[in-house]
């Protein structure tokens, strides 16, 4: 499993791996929103938590359709299915690699974009914290969606259609954490609920995703 994780990281970092695309998308979104909404600092500060979370969510979505599709096309998935690693482990390793190359950089870059969007001072810590806690759930739910659509020729659009409704609770609790912090309120409840969703997703979704992969392989 560690070998698989390292391979996926290596593939993502090499040419054509798509590392940084999500980050670039996140940046562009943070630039486009003020251009669309107007330069009013108060308005931007109000909507910053939501924009940053929606941006992170969409950036996560970008690279999802390649998560299993590439391995499916070149036959690696067949070989992994006959290898000693259970498919549940394959799913977990690949979701973790996805998080390390997408979710983690997003969480680290978010405060910089927060400055662009005039995010209130006390919200920076909770912004990073909520993204760190919440993005693993995004990767895991995304891996489940990718497993469902792996055999389809035009799975990308369908994948977004399936995955985005599943992202709703994560988005709500994540953005609420930041909004409450910006208003100077207690963030414990939404943060704990966010952590709960992540823990539940990571614990249960590998099984659902592996089941879907098995069906798609047969």
């Amino acid at each position: 499993m560690i070998a698989l994780l390292l391979r996926d990281l290596k593939l993502a970092l090499r040419a054509g791996g798509g590392f940084g695309l999500g980050l670039g998308f996140f940046l562009i979104l943070a630039v486009l929103v003020p251009l669309g909404v107007g330069p009013d600092q108060t308005t931007l500060g109000l909507i910053a938590p939501g924009i940053l979370w929606v941006g992170a969510l969409l950036a996560c979505l970008l690279s999802l359709d390649r998560l299993f599709a590439l391995d499916f096309e070149d036959g690696s998935l067949d070989l992994l299915a006959t290898s000693p690693i259970p498919l549940e482990g394959v799913v977990t390793a690949k979701a973790l690699a996805h998080w390390l190359t997408t979710g983690l950089p997003l969480a680290l870059a978010a405060p910089v974009l927060g400055i662009l969007l005039n995010l209130p001072g006390p919200a920076y810590g909770p912004l990073m914290l909520s993204l760190l806690v919440g993005t693993p759930a995004l990767s895991m739910i995304g891996a489940f969606g990718a497993a469902l659509t792996v055999g389809l020729k035009r799975g990308g659009l369908l994948l977004s259609l399936l995955v985005l409704p599943l992202y709703v609770p994560t988005l709500v609790f994540g953005a609420q954490t930041v909004t409450r912090a910006a208003q100077g309120l207690d963030i414990t409840t939404p943060l704990l609920l966010l952590g709960g969703i992540t823990a539940g997703s990571v614990a249960l979704l590998p099984f659902a995703a592996a089941f879907a992969l098995r069906i798609n392989l047969r």
């Binding site: 409704p165 609790f173 089941f211 879907a212």
Partner: protein
Amino acid sequence: MASLWEYANPVKFMKVSGWLLPVTAVLAAVMVTVGLVWGFFLTPDDFRQGSTVKIIFLHVPSALMAINAWAMMLVASLIWLIRRHHVSALAAKAAGPIGATMTLIALITGAIWGQPMWGTWWVWDPRLTSFLILFLFYIGYIALWSAIEDPDTAADLTAVLCLVGSVFAVLSRYAAIFWNQGLHQGASLSMAPGTRMDWSYKGPLYLCMTGFGVLFLALVLAGTRTEIRARRMTALLTRERAKG
């Protein structure tokens, strides 16, 4: 004693649904028509909400069936995953578009009701938001069914999606409540003491709710019958090709 599972046999199902379908269809038509005519024309206006409130006779039953359709899909998906009865999978498939339509009716009638009451067509109230999210789940489910060619693969994958989706739909509901405390009036019918609704409204409402339930049953039966026939046709065609 005949087991319930016998009805999962396509032949038996076709036979039973053959006579059950016209019965339920007529029953649903009568109940819904009587319920709506009674509700719209033979009830007094509400002292606060006027005649607008009468849209409740469409709104509440469709909202109820929107949720029940998903619950039925969940049960049918579980039966497919555990016992692998094709009829069950096809019934779940048939229920998808019906549930989506019910959700849409509930959303539209809600907007029509909300406009004069709240002064706006749409508010981001937890109930409304949950229904919108439920609608998105339905769309995803239907899209996945139509995207996969192999029927058994489609049945398996949509069943898993339905299971996982159910969990996340419930989570979304609570997330929406957490997110915004709401403008929507409380549940229209409640078992709590101090009844808030008069019997002159409850009568037609119960009739409409039952009518929508029977209507849903009739539609699912019709849909499942179509799916079974389509499935059989594909199977026969495949056979012909394999022989030829």
